[in-house]
Symmetry: C2
Subunit: 536 residues, 2 copies
């Protein structure tokens, strides 16, 4: 029997309308190229986002058409976040850190029809211009650069709206946003977020036991808006109607700290790298910045070490770890403490906060190995799999990637982890880097971390190498510091204190350097190829 409730869709349009109606006075602050601050209110944002939607409709945008954005974090990008979906389109955030070939591939694969681009990023656009086909290109003036060939002014485009915008009658499952993930293998893969998925993800993020967004907050997404929608923060901000601060292209520690202080930021988000630098700046200039107390800091993208969490606490920056992927919009877990953990010993609390956290409401999470779901023992590793309303059900026009989903409909994240007795996930490896030895799993990351803890080691990579008897065995490649005198046997002895015998690498080989991706990640794929025929 069906309930008798209204059929009311969950859309970003409801978020935009509510903010425009109830919070017109809220502030939106953006750092421009010349470091000056652009300020306007939610009333301006609301008017302009709707003007963008109307202008796009007048320009012939059809339901579901993709509109690319090549932009830093600022007010106009926020307008695109809401204005494009309001028109029935899909906001496709393009990663400005990608190389031209990848960027062109992505634009073409997504068939983006229009582009909104920062004037300071026109040189990047120039590099792909002849390889892609945008119907029109709208340029946002951050630095007052010249428009460029075939481009139009974003401001003049907005002026084409006449103030009689009407929302299309959208279903909640229609696409609202798109983001490509460029893994270390294969072609970039597009994830198509629905209105429903983004709405529920925003509401979940705002819950008191998650990021606790309130209208009294001042929110600063440092994580780029082209990285999985800045982890959902811009949508969350407009949902609760709080003040928003955008750092624009200035991501150095001092610029960040200046905004944190002057704008009284209370909640922010960024990758660990940013916070290492921020802590370094705080340590170098004691007392220089007076921040608001107890700033919540969402950190993801890579696991923050416990030392970083401790240091940030000293400066009132309360790190909350989130874990997820582009395919999970991205928040799947959050490392907030349960009520009964507040009274735990300090070390225990830090140990828990250094984990990826507990599955968010509406997210089902399991870790699976050959024996099925792993027990919650904090030890047994399994591939992390997800299910939920903001988890991708497939990639955009990539049927050959179907094996990323299990037969019973869970998404295989490719991450390997353990679950402890409280249900906290700890990521231990990537599936493809895991070493499967005689039916047991060995985390390459754990062994690498242990090797790097040796004072004479600069860097290490541990990979799986095929083995006739054990299927695979761990193999370590180590870069020593200049003048180091350590032997492979010394390192082995060093590791024996931490690991069982069968977990130790069977070979430790010293090399001068290791291969990396452009973003600095170890290119283990290359190493595995190089050593696949190793004779044990």
């Amino acid at each position: 029997m069906q309930g008798l409730m209204m059929n009311y869709p969950l859309t970003l349009n409801h978020i935009l309308e509510r903010a425009g109606k109830f919070y017109p006075g809220g502030e939106i602050v953006s750092r421009l190229s010349d470091r000056s601050l652009h300020r306007y209110t939610y009333a301006d944002f609301y008017r302009r986002a709707r003007a963008l939607a109307e202008a796009l409709q007048r320009a012939g945008l059809q339901r579901g058409d993709r509109v690319g954005t090549l932009m830093w974090n600022h007010y106009a990008h926020l307008e695109a976040y809401f204005g494009i979906p309001a028109a029935g389109g899909v906001v496709h955030t393009l990663n400005l850190r990608l190389g031209a070939p990848d960027l062109a591939y992505i634009v073409n694969h997504a068939q983006d029809r229009f582009l909104i681009v920062d004037d300071t990023l026109l040189p990047l656009y120039e590099k792909i211009r002849h390889a892609v086909r945008f119907e029109r290109v709208f340029v946002v003036s951050l630095a007052g650069c010249a428009l460029g060939q075939g481009c139009e002014s974003y401001e003049q485009f907005l002026e084409q709206a006449q103030g009689d915008f009407h929302y299309p009658d959208l279903g909640e499952n229609e696409a609202a946003a798109m983001c490509y993930t460029s893994g270390t293998t294969g072609s970039p893969k597009g994830i198509l977020y629905s209105h429903r998925g983004l709405f529920l993800h925003s509401m979940m993020g705002a819950l008191p036991d998650q990021m606790a967004y309130t209208q009294r907050d001042v929110m600063m997404p440092i994580v780029p808006m082209f990285h999985v929608n800045a982890w959902g923060m811009p949508f969350g901000a407009v949902l609760v109607g709080c003040k928003v601060v955008f750092p624009g292209p200035h991501m150095d520690a001092e610029s960040i700290l200046e905004l944190l202080e002057n704008e009284r930021v209370t909640v922010t988000a960024g990758v660990p790298t940013i916070w290492f630098k921020v802590v370094e700046a705080l340590e170098s200039h004691p007392g220089r910045w007076k921040l608001a107390p107890d700033i919540r800091v969402l950190v993801g993208g890579a696991a923050p070490p416990e030392t970083l969490i401790r240091k940030m606490d000293q400066y009132g920056l309360r790190l909350i770890q989130g874990w997820g992927l582009t395919e999970s919009a991205p928040l799947a877990t959050m490392s907030t403490l349960k009520a009964h953990m507040q009274g735990m010993a300090e070390d225990d609390r830090y140990r828990i906060r250094a984990k990826a956290g507990v599955a968010a409401p509406l997210v089902d999470l399991r870790a699976v190995n050959e024996n099925g779901e792993v027990p919650w023992d904090g030890e047994t590793m399994g591939e992390v799999q997800l299910r939920g309303p903001w988890i991708a059900s497939s990639y955009y026009q990539l049927p050959e990637e179907k094996d990323k989903w299990t037969e019973d409909g869970w998404f295989r994240t490719g991450d390997v982890g353990t679950l402890d007795a409280e249900g906290y996930l700890k990521i231990t490896d990537r599936t493809k880097d895991l070493i499967k030895s005689g039916g047991e799993w060995i985390s390459s990351v754990d062994v690498e971390n242990a090797i790097v803890a040796h004072p004479e080691v600069r860097e290490a990579a541990v990979i799986a190498v095929p083995h006739p008897r054990w299927q695979e065995r761990p193999f370590a490649l180590v870069v020593l510091k200049d003048g180091a005198k350590v032997t492979p046997e010394d390192l082995r002895g060093f590791l024996e204190a931490r690991f069982a015998r069968w977990q130790l690498p069977d070979a430790i080989v010293f090399v001068d350097q290791l291969p990396h991706t452009t973003t600095g990640k170890l290119l283990k794929r290359e190493l595995r190829q190089q050593y696949q025929d190793w004779k044990w």
Copy 2:
């Protein structure tokens, strides 16, 4: 174009599963008939709710079957809240304050198949037993009473479960709960809540700018669980996994205060009557109860006067007004302050908090009069209309009530109100009690309140009486205090300071008493009939 996100339903089952998995240690405390406290954990609750679901399935419960509950607020009622929907059934909360004829009518109209009843309420069940047809009746032992004819023990029923429960594959729009509203006119009307509606209502209620439910809270729903699902609190509690305290049948001020103090309650809910009594007890026994600081108190059912809000603040009971109806699940507005209002003068803050508040996220609200939507001027009255995912789209098997919905799909609440410049709703009257005079609307409630403010008046009713020229004119019936010497002209003069001439009653008639409903509300319908032929 459809987004590519998983089709994951929003159901109460997800809430139950998540609580059982992540918060097994959370406490649930219930006051029994003999005033003793029953305590168990979420692990117990989870196991028993699923056992109830399994036992119901074994008893032949089919998808959508209604199971009635005739119970106070306690652990077993919470089990029914989740166990019945988990089995695919509909939990139908029966109002134990209704008379036997209404109760029997409702049970028969809903076609309830099973009943779960407190042993202390068996006398009430006995009164309807021969007028209804439950297939089986399960008795919860609160006081150790005898089972009664044809009844079974709830505990023994649970024992029939064998621990191999499986959720049916529910769609989110399937019915989960049911509640009848018994207005002052017509037959009781059934509202059928969907899993989706209740899930979204719970998530909304938990948001930081609404009731801010967190796992660290201790929640005590005083409002009965047969009153619109205790305003959604039990669902919200299990969603966040917080400790829950149930007052059972003991609703007197001292019992309430004892639980507030001993169980360290941080968030609670009840009608103004409860809080009048609580404040009175606090005033009579200074220093007797040491409550947790800053308790959030959701108050609805009737508008709390500003004086009550001020008094409660003195005792650390922070009143948050909610407004809604059975048809809106019930939260449609909440009177929390916006960020910029925190710094307002005290009087202004109280004035705002005494209003019904701002439309909740996912609720569209408008006030409509003959000229369409009223402006946000705080003066123009209109009928309040609602739209949203937890607003009823029709009554259960009552097609003749279709006119409660507008042609464009909004629910007519029957309440009349104004909206101020910030979007805060103030309820001024019920549609049917409103006086429509020469194209202008006069609030009967405003005039009544003004008359009652006169020191010699005990009670007043203001009704619309037909008028040949003005369509309707206000007519006041006043009960004076013993020995009062005031004249109608005196009262008129007293009112002239507050109202425009055309808003004043054309006649003021003194009577010995006024007719009331069983719950103490003025029976204006009767008065209107009595005076409909009044000659002006």
